[in-house]
Symmetry: C2
Subunit: 326 residues, 2 copies
């Protein structure tokens, strides 16, 4: 580990954001990073030894265990800003941040296009069995078994977008080009021409596919449960690129195993990196490892945004992407 320059502003990093694997070098020219994962000390001791007076934090929801809330804030009395490498802020206690005057900045829509692309890719893959066919060919089965099941057309599918934010809108726009018929559920009606259903169960009864694009909040936790899945029905497909806990995973697995719905494309899970093993043998399910946002382009944009937010904070300027807690 290079000797940190004390002239650079100090930033504590919680979790081990993937960003650091790629842009760690560039970032270290601008800030002095305090990385608990490189220390043998337990987190509390690391903070009291190295970071008690730190004002800024970078956080990642993927690897950090537990919520960033009171108990941590007590250890960091000087903390004034949290910059998270995610669009979602469900891992941060925003109310407590507001009470303590801690600002929060997120990745806003840096990832929206990539996540929307991935959602569409998952949907095409599930409907058209691309991963299944790839396994079939690579296992040398084509010359042995001529037959392969007919698939479902993408066009004409009634697709319900759950959460019509930045990602949901981009998914809708892409799927329109395939001839899908879009409707949506959201907290509020949006200024779009797609039919709006305030209730996700009603949306499911009207649709062949649900694409989960909403933030994870107390209101959306387990929003997709067995009743919603049964309403979607035996021909139904679920795509989730949001957060695992928006779906009741146990009930989803049951529905998939018992063929109560037709298939799923899942990039996120309730207890990552653990994925229910009952899904591993299902050919109607495509499973990926929370990579919908992970492109070189997104990470470059994220690097610039995180770096810009921290610079703004230390120059006493407005954050580039403040989270407005409404």
């Amino acid at each position: 580990m290079a000797k940190p320059s004390t002239a650079l502003p100090a930033v504590i990093v919680l979790g081990q954001p993937t960003l650091f694997n790629i842009y760690g070098e560039q970032l270290s020219h601008k800030f002095q990073f305090l990385k608990p994962w490189e220390s043998s000390l337990p987190l509390e001791q690391f903070i009291s030894t190295h970071a008690q007076s730190v004002q800024a934090m970078i956080s990642s929801p993927k690897d950090f265990v537990g919520k960033i809330s009171s108990s941590l804030f007590c250890l960091l009395p000087s903390l004034r800003v949290i910059v998270t490498s995610s669009a979602g802020v469900n891992h941060i206690d925003l109310l407590e941040c507001r009470r303590r005057g801690i600002s929060v900045a997120n990745a806003v829509s840096v990832f929206s296009e990539d996540v929307a692309d991935f959602a569409v890719g998952l949907l095409i893959d599930v409907l058209r069995k691309i991963s299944v066919a790839d396994r079939f060919v690579k296992n040398g089965l084509w010359p042995l078994h001529g037959d392969f099941p007919l698939c479902s057309k993408v066009g004409g599918r009634k697709v319900g977008i759950v959460g019509l934010g930045s990602i949901g809108l981009k998914v809708a726009k892409r799927l329109e080009a395939f001839g899908c018929i879009i409707s949506y559920q959201s907290r509020k009606k949006k200024p779009v021409s797609y039919p709006f259903y305030p209730d996700v169960h009603e949306l499911a009864t009207k649709c062949d596919v649900l694409v989960i694009c909403c933030a994870l909040t107390e209101q959306t936790r387990h929003l997709i449960n067995k009743e919603v899945l049964l309403a979607l029905g035996k021909g139904g497909v679920i795509i989730n690129i949001a957060r695992g806990s928006v779906i009741n995973e146990m009930e989803l697995v049951q529905c998939l195993v018992q063929r109560e719905i037709a298939g799923a494309g899942l990039d996120v899970f309730e207890n990552e990196p653990n994925v229910p093993e009952d899904l591993f043998s299902l050919d109607n399910v495509v499973l990926t490892r929370h990579v919908a946002a992970c492109t070189e382009n997104s990470f470059r944009d994220l690097y610039e945004l995180i770096s810009g937010n921290l610079e703004a904070f230390f120059l006493n300027k407005p954050l580039l992407s403040p989270v407005l807690d409404d």
Copy 2:
């Protein structure tokens, strides 16, 4: 086998079109089908015993070995119409058909949407490593290996469409919704705003991705060779949903193995069902078994078109989808 009704018009079926697995029953209410594959006789003997006076043929390019040309026509002196279950007619000697007064009907654009959807699905899969990630998760690797490579963004890619017909146009329209930048190569300039390159080598130098959508003809056989692939370059991706022989497969395999291009999504191959085994272990290649057209919806439309063409022929009416040999 049910006893064929001699009151129904006779149609010989060459190859064993997948359509018959699904719509054989319905078709058999309208026509008496002569199926060489259900007989132990060699084809020539089958024809001379059962089909010498037959006027109509259904053909499939997938399973029939060899070209439908003179030697076959000599066995079928009364043949007046060939209805193929494919959009492509490269398996039929059209000049010889014209000389003998045999009409040909094809599947026109019945499959265009499904094939275009599949092409886009293959491209997203290759760029965003969906099949790779699915294998990774299903093999239980996520908890063991946290890291997964960053992928390439779909948006902003310069995509060259080789053959801007019905399928190529639909691929272009879909990829525009992802923010791809489209150009094309075709025999003639088309009334579209995309930049046109008459030469495929020049198109490759301008693009990150080539999507092969052209018909297989003597002019397009091995159109994509090593020179074109090297012009596409180390970041380049090839998608082929047309016919295997449009690409020099041996040179493509070399380029992929030696990482002269970045990846490929291939639904078609030169010598189906045999796929070059050197490709099986490559994670930058997605291989499917000539299923881009295979949806329930396409096959229902195909059934109606084939049935309609045969009915038109036997009623002495114009074919629904005549192939115009220009």
